[in-house]
Symmetry: C2
Subunit: 234 residues, 2 copies
């Protein structure tokens, strides 16, 4: 299953084709729904999914990502998440769940969080209407496949995006990196300069040149952009 999928994936060149390939996983994976959803650092989103348009629309409209326990858990965890193990208490959460099931999402689900460079984040989810036991068997048997599938899908999605987007690759000098790092760690300019054993004036030059390179409006923006681009190793 994985072999032919990766083969198909290899030939994909556009996001539309990627969508088709992801959707086509539904049968071989033997699930109700398949979802790949990516958010990059600039807030651009891409999704390939088998949910109904109505549900997707409703989800976005209501900003359900804010309360969806699956999203909340995946943002905070590294390992894949079985929906059953999440905390579904809370009024808003239960309403959301009811609505989701009514929209045919299925009450069983398995979501793999995936993180790319520059703060990119994606979710690969399969859902089903199986009973608990069947689902438990299914997830233990196929978790590896699902992890690899999510990895390869994300790789392809990033590849396509990078090709189209062609975002400038900024690089900071060591001292610029140092300066922004100190600020990101909470030091004031005076403290940061002290920590780096340079004058505060010098530090400012680094911050300003970094700001220029990063096309940032102010220091906080510069730090945010640098972090987002993985330029700072705190």
């Amino acid at each position: 299953m994985l072999e032919s999928f990766i083969d198909k994936l290899q030939r994909v060149e556009t996001l539309e084709e990627l969508n088709d390939v992801v959707v086509s996983l539904r049968d071989p994976l033997d699930v109700e729904h398949v979802v790949y959803h990516s958010v990059n650092s600039t807030g651009e989103q891409y999704a390939a999914l088998t949910y109904t348009q109505e549900w997707v629309h409703r989800y976005l409209e209501q900003d359900y990502a804010r309360i969806d326990p699956v999203v909340q858990a995946c943002v905070r965890r590294f390992h894949p998440v079985d929906w059953k193990r999440l905390d579904w208490s809370g009024k808003a959460v239960r309403n959301f769940m009811t609505e989701a099931i009514d929209s045919g999402v299925g009450h069983q689900g398995f979501s793999v969080p995936i993180r790319g460079p520059s703060g990119q984040f994606a979710l690969f989810t399969v859902s089903s209407a199986d009973k608990d036991e069947q689902w438990a068997t299914y997830t233990t048997e196929r978790s590896r496949e699902l992890i690899l599938a999510s990895h390869y899908i994300n790789q392809k999605a990033l590849e396509i995006e990078r090709g189209s987007d062609q975002m400038e690759i900024v690089s900071l000098s060591p001292r610029e990196t140092d300066a922004l790092t100190m600020l990101a760690l909470g030091y004031s300019r005076a403290q940061a300069a002290d920590g780096l054993s340079i004058s505060e004036h010098t530090l400012r030059v680094y911050i300003e040149s970094a700001r220029f390179k990063l096309a940032a409006m102010n220091t906080t923006h510069a730090v945010a952009r640098a972090m987002n681009q993985g330029l700072l190793i705190l």
Copy 2:
């Protein structure tokens, strides 16, 4: 190979045990060296590796991560990196490479970048002294195993760390998130307040409560911490 490795991993409970299990991958993977190296958002590092102590010491002392093309590439990429495909031009880089090979690192290598929540970043690397052709065969045949291995190692490492560290899980209110997001996007307080249609005074309350929750010294620090913890979706 993967099966027994995951079995062994399952029983690991401390970082020392993890180290042993990672090192023990050397033979079954049929490589010269195995390295797992993780850096989390607070700068704490953990490494399990088979390199000589001298080389590790030298690497840290010289801050070679700054020029090591493998690290530089992995920070920026999602997919695994074959060392041969990197750019080894540049004086400093070539010196570094010579020194690395002299230290027995091996001239072939394959590195898998892995990212966890809260800006955690890790590298799983295998290196060898094989010739190009053999190595090409090796990497294509085993890349999936290596990806899965890196995934499971990282999962275990995070699990152990979380258990020991028990870092407070901070959650920001929607408005606090909004406020920090606007600042991270480069807006000044006045602009941010305007964008959120609230008074600047109100905005400040959010920033300060967020700062309090995040135990941040100042606004920039708060934004940095929030981003690092994946609390902001720019």
